[in-house]
C-alpha cells in the first residue's frame, strides 16, 4: 500500500511520459546497418591457401556440414637424387549453412589458420541449396574478415610474438657478441700497429 492513494497511478503515468522523451531503441535494420560486437559470428571464410586438407574441421563438425574433396599430387624431388614428395590438393570445400549451427568448432580446430569468422550475415536465399557455399564463395568471404581485435590491456603476449621476440633477441645477442669480439680484435690490432689503418682495420 502506497503512502498516498493514487501515487502508484501517477508513477505509471510518469514512467510512460519519461520513456516518451528518451531515445527509442528501435533498430532500423535494413536502412541502418547494426553495430555488431567484435568477434561476431556471421559467416565462415576459407583462406584456402592455408588449407592442407587435414579434414579435422569436417570430422569435428557436429552437424557434418563441411564437405571436402581432395586428391594427392606427387611433387618431384627438390634436389638431384632426392625423394619425391606427395601433397594434398583441395578439390572441393563447401559449408552447408542451412545445417551449420555457428558453433565455431571448425575454426577452433583448424591447425593451419585456414578458417575465420566473418561478421557478414546477409546471405539469406530463397532456395535452400544456395546456402551451401562452395570454396570460391567461402574464399570471397575472407575479404570481409576483420583484423583480430586488440588484446586486453595487460594481457599476456601472443605466443607467436613471444617466440619471434625470443628468436630476435637471441639473434641480436649473437650479433652483439660477434661485434664485441670483432671490436676487441680490432683494438688488439690497433695496439700492435699504431696508425697504420683506421678503426676499420679489424674487419675481415
Amino acid at each position: 500500500m502506497s503512502p498516498i492513494p493514487g501515487s502508484g497511478l501517477a508513477k505509471g503515468l510518469a514512467v510512460t511520459l519519461r520513456t516518451m522523451t528518451k531515445k527509442t531503441v528501435t533498430a532500423q535494420y535494413p536502412d541502418v546497418q547494426p553495430e555488431l560486437p567484435p568477434r561476431s559470428r556471421g559467416v565462415i571464410g576459407l583462406f584456402e591457401e592455408n588449407c592442407t586438407v587435414c579434414m579435422l574441421c569436417a570430422r569435428e563438425c557436429p552437424d557434418w556440414c563441411i564437405y571436402i574433396d581432395s586428391h594427392k599430387e606427387t611433387v618431384p624431388a627438390a634436389v638431384e637424387g632426392g625423394r619425391e614428395r606427395s601433397r594434398n590438393v583441395l578439390d572441393r570445400f563447401a559449408i552447408d549453412f542451412s545445417l551449420c549451427m555457428y558453433c565455431g568448432i571448425c575454426i577452433e580446430v583448424c591447425p593451419f589458420d585456414a578458417l575465420f569468422w566473418s561478421p557478414e550475415f546477409e546471405y539469406a536465399e530463397t532456395d535452400i541449396h544456395e546456402l551451401t557455399h562452395e570454396r570460391d564463395k567461402l574464399r570471397e568471404w575472407m575479404w570481409t574478415v576483420p583484423a583480430p581485435p586488440a588484446l586486453d590491456p595487460g594481457a599476456e603476449e601472443p605466443k607467436e610474438v613471444a617466440a619471434a621476440r625470443k628468436a630476435a633477441d637471441k639473434l641480436a645477442a649473437a650479433q652483439a657478441a660477434e661485434a664485441a669480439a670483432a671490436a676487441e680484435a680490432g683494438q688488439a690490432a690497433d695496439t700492435g700497429q699504431t696508425g697504420q689503418t683506421g678503426p676499420e682495420g679489424g674487419q675481415a
Binding site: 497511478l9 505509471g12 503515468l13 514512467v15 510512460t16 511520459l17 520513456t19 516518451m20 528518451k22 527509442t24 531503441v25 528501435t26 532500423q28
Partner: protein
C-alpha cells in the same frame, strides 16, 4: 437558396472535421504509444515518419472481403457499424468550437441532452454487433458493453448535470457564455468523473473489457472484416474526438483562454481537445485493463458518489453566490 448553401457548407465542414480529426488522433496514437514504449512506430507509409499509415490501413481494409457469418442476423450485422459511427457525427454538429454563430454546426437549445442521448446510441452499435454475430465471444462482448453502458452513463449524466446547474442552461454555447475561470476548480471533480466515464463508454483502455482481445478475441467485433471493421475502429477514434471536445466545452471553458478569446477562440478549443486526446492515449499506454468487477466497482462506488457530491457542491455554491 442562401440558407441551403449555408447548411450545405456547415455540413461539409463538420463532415471534413469528422473524417480528418479521428485519423489525426489515430496517427498520434501510433506515434505517441510507440515512443512511450521506446519504439519508433510506423516509419514507411507516405515517406515521412509514416504519416500515411492510416491511409494505407484504410486501403487495406477496403480491399478485404466483407464476410457475413452464415448464422448471423444479416441485416442487423451489416447495420451495426453505421449505428456505432453516425451518432458521433451527429454530436459533432452540436459542439461549438468558437464564440461566433458560425463556429458551431447547429445550435441546439437542449444541447447537453441531445449530445449525451445521441452518444449513448453509439454504444448500441456494439450491442447490435455482439448479438447479431451469432458468436459466443461476440455475445459476451456485447453483454459486457451493455453492463458498461449501464454503469457509466449515470456518472456521465450526473457530471454533465452539474455543469448545467452551474450555468443555468443546457445549451452548449450558453454554458460557455456563462463560463468563468473559477469554474475550473469548482467543477474539477465533475470533469474527472465525466472524462473517466466517457473513456469507459468509448471502451478505451483501461476500460476495454468488452473488446478484451486476450479473453474474448475482440468482443462484439470478432466477426467483422474489411470496411465494416474499419468503421468500428473509426467510431472509436471519432468517439475520442467527441469526448475530448465535450469535456473541453463543458468543463475546460472551450474557447475561453488567457488571450486571443476574440477571433482565435477556436484555436483554444482545438488545443484543449488535442491535449485531452493525448491524455486518452497516455492512459491507454500506462494502465492495464480493469477486471469486469473492478470496472463495475469503480463506477458504482466511486464515480457515482463523486458525481453526486459534485452536484451538491455546485448547488451550495450556486445558492451562495446568487
Amino acid at each position: 437558396m442562401n440558407d441551403a448553401l449555408d447548411v450545405a457548407i456547415r455540413l461539409v465542414v463538420v463532415f471534413a472535421v469528422f473524417m480528418v480529426l479521428p485519423l489525426v488522433i489515430g496517427q498520434t496514437e501510433h506515434k505517441v504509444m510507440a515512443h512511450m514504449q521506446g519504439r519508433l512506430g510506423p516509419m514507411y507509409a507516405g515517406g515521412f515518419h509514416g504519416w500515411a499509415q492510416l491511409v494505407a490501413d484504410g486501403v487495406k481494409f477496403a480491399q478485404k472481403e466483407d464476410v457475413v457469418p452464415a448464422a448471423a442476423d444479416r441485416r442487423i450485422f451489416q447495420l451495426a457499424p453505421a449505428v456505432a459511427l453516425l451518432p458521433y457525427l451527429l454530436v459533432l454538429v452540436a459542439v461549438p468550437i468558437g464564440p461566433s454563430e458560425g463556429a458551431v454546426g447547429q445550435v441546439v437549445d437542449a444541447g447537453i441532452f441531445f449530445v449525451l442521448a445521441v452518444m449513448g446510441v453509439g454504444v448500441l452499435g456494439s450491442l447490435m454487433a455482439g448479438w447479431a454475430s451469432a458468436n459466443k465471444f461476440s455475445l459476451l462482448g456485447g453483454l459486457r458493453t451493455a453492463a458498461q453502458l449501464l454503469a457509466y452513463e449515470l456518472p456521465m449524466l450526473l457530471a454533465a448535470a452539474s455543469v448545467a446547474m452551474a450555468a443555468g442552461t443546457v445549451s452548449l454555447p450558453g454554458i460557455l457564455n456563462a463560463f468563468h475561470w473559477w469554474w475550473l476548480p469548482w467543477q474539477i471533480v465533475g470533469a474527472l468523473v465525466f472524462f473517466i466515464a466517457g473513456l469507459a463508454e468509448l471502451q478505451r483502455p483501461p476500460f476495454d473489457m468488452p473488446v478484451a482481445d486476450s479473453e474474448i478475441i475482440f468482443g462484439a467485433y470478432t466477426e467483422y472484416t474489411g470496411l465494416r471493421f474499419a468503421l468500428f475502429l473509426l467510431a472509436e477514434y471519432a468517439g475520442i474526438v467527441v469526448l475530448c471536445g465535450l469535456t473541453t466545452v463543458l468543463f475546460l471553458g472551450g474557447w475561453h483562454g488567457p488571450f486571443g478569446a476574440d477571433g482565435l477562440g477556436w484555436v483554444w478549443t482545438l488545443l484543449k481537445t488535442a491535449v485531452l486526446a493525448f491524455v486518452v492515449i497516455w492512459l491507454r499506454v500506462s494502465y492495464p485493463r480493469l477486471r469486469e468487477d473492478q470496472l463495475q466497482k469503480l463506477a458504482w462506488t466511486t464515480l457515482i458518489p463523486l458525481a453526486l457530491a459534485q452536484i451538491a457542491l455546485t448547488g451550495i455554491v450556486k445558492v451562495a453566490i446568487s
